[in-house]
Amino acid sequence: MLLDYERLGWLRVALVGFTAAVAAFLLLPVVFIVLLSFGSSRWLAFPPPGWTLRWYQQLLGDPTWIDAALTSARIAAMAAMLAVIIGLFAAFSLVRGEFRGRQVLRGLLLTPMVLPVVVFAIAIYAFFLRIGLAGTTVGFVIAHTILALPFAIIPITAALEGFDKSIEDAAIVCGASPFQARLRITLPSIRIGIFSAAIFSFLASWDEVVVAIFMASPTLQTLPVKIWGSLRADLSPVVAAASSLLVGLTFCLMIVTALLRRKLSR
């Protein structure tokens, strides 16, 4: 290799330093928030004058916060499930199908990822107002499913492309109907892709705020919406505690994904 790490010489130090700086830049705000959530200052002073768990007590003692977290989890779980199911069908037709406009369809299905979120949010809000889905759980789940769809389609499509169709044919010659072959052989073979799709589409909904603000109603609020609302009302360390929990769960899910992928791909 032209750029062999071993042969970089003194540049290695510079490279390590630069990488550390980038990592710090990305991680520091998160670390900062987590530290503040344990700080005793009511005004989020840094460095904190002392340490306390008070904000977490307040957070967990407030039913509106618990409610928001549960709503987030419920909507993210439903959106993820729908996105994976639709993603499976989409991936099969994109990978196996032989029809005109296949590439166009692929592009279309991935547009939620590149479209400015606020444009999408306004469009779907206006549409839902007209058909009476604004502020409902169903509307919320539909909107988040659309946003999560690319995150489901990409890993499933990749897994299906890496799966040799001869294996499915072999199952059919063995006596399995085409449907049975897909259910019992193809799906388990691409389970890493399906699993990644579930996690990523869950997270896509779990920490989404822009569309959620439009979809929310006073009685239907997700955690990010609640955080956003609290930030505007009063800047309390409880928000930092809620944010820390949000980040914490995301972090845990990423670790679980990595571990499971390692286990499954063996």
Binding site: D164, A171, C174, S189
Partner: protein, 358 residues
């Protein structure tokens, strides 16, 4: 009514304007090992896939014990198949792979257990039952695939170049396994390959495909010793072709004139040629001698190169007309060791040579 077990009737498959299979008709008796041999794109795999049900033929029929298979979907044909690529189910153990066809048939657990054990013994992988496919070598994977294909006692086993991904030594080992398994189970096997040595080694009969048609069908001996065309002679074994002119044929023996003007008589012919017709004389490399025999014809040549291969020597010769000839005498044949220095003439028995139209 046909008496044969598997019958392929005027099978034809077209892809747009391209005709992949032209009216192929074959009758296969029960228990036969029949190989479809041919270069790639000759229609052999397409024919096999039509029998498996993965290709719908454009016309023609496939009959198993006088019943048409064409209206039966693949998964109900009860056919065994081993593919060119590794097709073990990656998330199932070896034993579960072999059990799969029995599970979809809802056989009782006790029977499945017994059958899996039998099949593992058949392919000699008893100690690998709990392994996953990823932990097996290519050869082991194809043996498991074979066990899986035979687990439900299919009447026919289709094999689509199952050894092409393996190295030569392993290929020969598994060929011997396949022969043994064919002997022990008596299953009817249709085998596709482009490797003529593999076809000769394995088959009862070989159907040689060329451009969607069967050029010749018969035993390996038939194809080697009595090739029906120049294509067959060129595809099976090694051959030397020399341009010649046909002079006359009497009582099945022809006389020709070679390019250097020499006359050869007594070549066995079944086709009739006109006087003066351009023909090609085919002589196998091992049919040449370096010393004259009782009935042999002689060719004046120049020796270009010789090499020693243990049981055989290889001598490259060139005629005055510039045609190169591959000669493979046995190492201990008369005159073989002196070929380098004195070899100016090589000899062959006209009875072992063939004539084809040019």
């Amino acid at each position: 009514m046909t008496r044969s077990f598997l019958s392929i009737r005027a099978l034809r498959k077209t892809f747009g304007a391209f005709v992949a299979v032209h009216d192929v008709t074959i009758d296969v008796p029960k228990g036969e090992f029949l190989t479809f041999l041919g270069p790639s794109g000759s229609g052999k795999s397409t024919t096999l896939y039509a029998i498996a049900g993965f290709q719908d033929p454009s016309s023609g029929d496939v009959l198993l014990e006088d019943m048409s298979l064409l209206s039966v979907p693949s998964h109900k044909r009860n056919i065994g198949m081993v593919f060119q690529r590794y097709t073990l189910f990656p998330h199932l153990s070896v034993a579960e792979n072999i059990a799969f066809p029995l599970r979809v048939r809802r056989r009782p657990d006790a029977e499945i257990k017994r059958k899996v054990a039998d099949m593992l013994a058949l392919v000699r992988l008893e100690n690998f039952a709990d392994r996953h496919p990823g932990a097996l070598s290519g050869g082991q994977q194809q043996r498991v695939a074979l066990a899986r294909a035979l687990a439900y006692d299919p009447p026919i086993l289709l094999m689509d170049e199952p050894l092409s991904a393996l190295d030569k030594k392993l290929r020969q080992e598994i060929q011997a396994e396949i022969r043994r398994i064919h002997r022990e189970t008596g299953v009817t096997i249709l085998y596709v390959t482009h490797d003529q040595e593999e076809a000769l080694h394995l088959s009862d009969r070989i159907a040689l495909f060329r451009e969607g048609r069967i050029e010749q069908i018969g035993t390996g001996e038939d194809l080697y010793l009595r090739p029906a065309s120049e294509f067959v002679a060129g595809f099976i074994g090694n051959s030397n072709f020399l341009p010649a002119e046909h002079l006359q044929t009497a009582r099945g023996a022809s006389t020709i004139r070679l390019a250097d003007g020499s006359i050869v008589t007594g070549i066995k012919t079944t086709t009739s040629f006109g006087q003066g017709q351009r023909v090609r004389l085919m002589v196998r490399p091992e049919a040449f001698r370096l010393a004259p025999g009782a009935t042999s014809a002689a060719l004046a040549v120049e020796i270009i190169d010789t090499a020693f291969f243990g049981d055989r020597r290889r001598v490259m010769a060139r005629t005055a007309a510039g045609d190169e000839i591959d000669v493979r005498p046995a190492s201990d044949a008369e005159g073989a060791d002196s070929a380098t220095t004195s070899g100016k003439r090589i000899f062959f028995d006209p009875g072992s040579a063939f004539l084809f139209p040019a």
